[in-house]
């Protein structure tokens, strides 16, 4: 029996709210985008037909942009910590990546290297999501607001970047969903982002050893 007991507050209310807003926005954007790119009228009809799906896509894009922006401006400290964590790679992270933290069935790992609040895979995902979001946002708004005046070649470039970034992000989010909600080794943290924000202290001491050692006990 481990000596560590209790819970760790991993994601507070603002972070979880922003994650929910971004998640719902992303789902709507992905569904409407897929619907009118491949002309899938069945999906478009969920949003009131192709014309409405296009409108919903644009305004969901506004929410997709405004949600994290407001969060960052109101919670700069949390954002700064997040950016610092995902951009800080040590030899432990590279060692974790060599074995993929034991998540891949055919790579046997006795003990994964100690990790920060996010493991090396989550750090890479975080970075890719930020870059992906910037690309879809920066190409999306010109396609909406300046489509009548921008040169056709520039618009075509925006369409291509927007499409391929969205496809890569959808695949990344599928992987993220699998590891966060389905994989038996990692789904134990599911509630920490989707529900109450807490995760078991003993599990954290194993999965996020470096971060856990820097925490404070409040009660």
């Amino acid at each position: 029996m481990s000596e560590i007991s209790g819970k760790v507050l991993k994601h507070d209310t603002q972070t979880r709210s922003m994650h929910w807003v971004h998640l719902i926005g992303f789902l709507i954007l992905a569904l409407t985008g897929i619907a009118f790119y491949w002309d899938l009228i069945g999906i478009s009809n969920i949003f009131g037909g192709p014309a409405n799906a296009s409108l919903v896509h644009r305004w969901a894009g506004v929410i997709f942009t405004a949600g994290p922006t407001i969060y960052i401006l109101l919670n700069f400290e949390r954002f700064a910590k997040f950016i610092d964590t995902i951009s800080h790679f040590t030899k432990d992270d590279f060692a974790w990546l060599k074995t993929m933290g034991g998540y891949i069935p055919f790579i046997k790992v006795d003990k994964a290297p100690p990790q920060d609040k996010y493991n090396a895979g989550q750090k890479i995902l975080g970075g890719l999501i930020i870059v992906g979001c910037l690309l879809v946002i920066l190409t999306g708004f010109p396609m909406w607001l300046w489509r009548h005046t921008l040169p056709a070649a520039f618009l075509a470039m925006c369409y291509n970047i927007h499409f391929w970034t969205a496809i890569i992000m959808i695949l990344l989010i599928c992987g993220h969903f699998f590891l966060a909600a389905i994989h038996p080794k990692s789904r134990i943290e599911f509630a920490s982002m989707m529900l109450d924000g807490y995760v078991d202290a003993e599990i954290t001491s194993h999965h996020n050893e470096k971060w856990f050692n820097a925490l404070q006990k409040v009660e």
Binding site: L9, I72, D84, W146, L215, K217
Partner: protein, 118 residues
Amino acid sequence: MSIFTEKDGITRRQFFKGAGMLAFTAVVAGVFAKVGVDVFAASDDYIQKRAEGLYTLDEQMAIRKSHENPEILQIYKDFLSPGEIKPVSEKAHHLLHTRYGKDIPGLIEELATHHDAA
């Protein structure tokens, strides 16, 4: 039950990374917006210059109105409405007002009839 949380406050490294990321995003978004606004302005400028060019060309033309073109007036006098200038004469109507698509066979037939009658 014990509750663990992160310590308050951020380190200098965390601050600079967070601020740097925000600054980078702001610069990239600003540059992108600037390009968009400049292209918008350039497009407006092009449209204005193009319109000015067309008006200038038009003002420089010796003959600016078709109904004052001596050649057209002569065609009416000699052929379309012999002896007078009658813009919507029957012959002018049949010869100058064309039709499109599925109406073309009807037009050909009509022209042939008029030609035979003449």
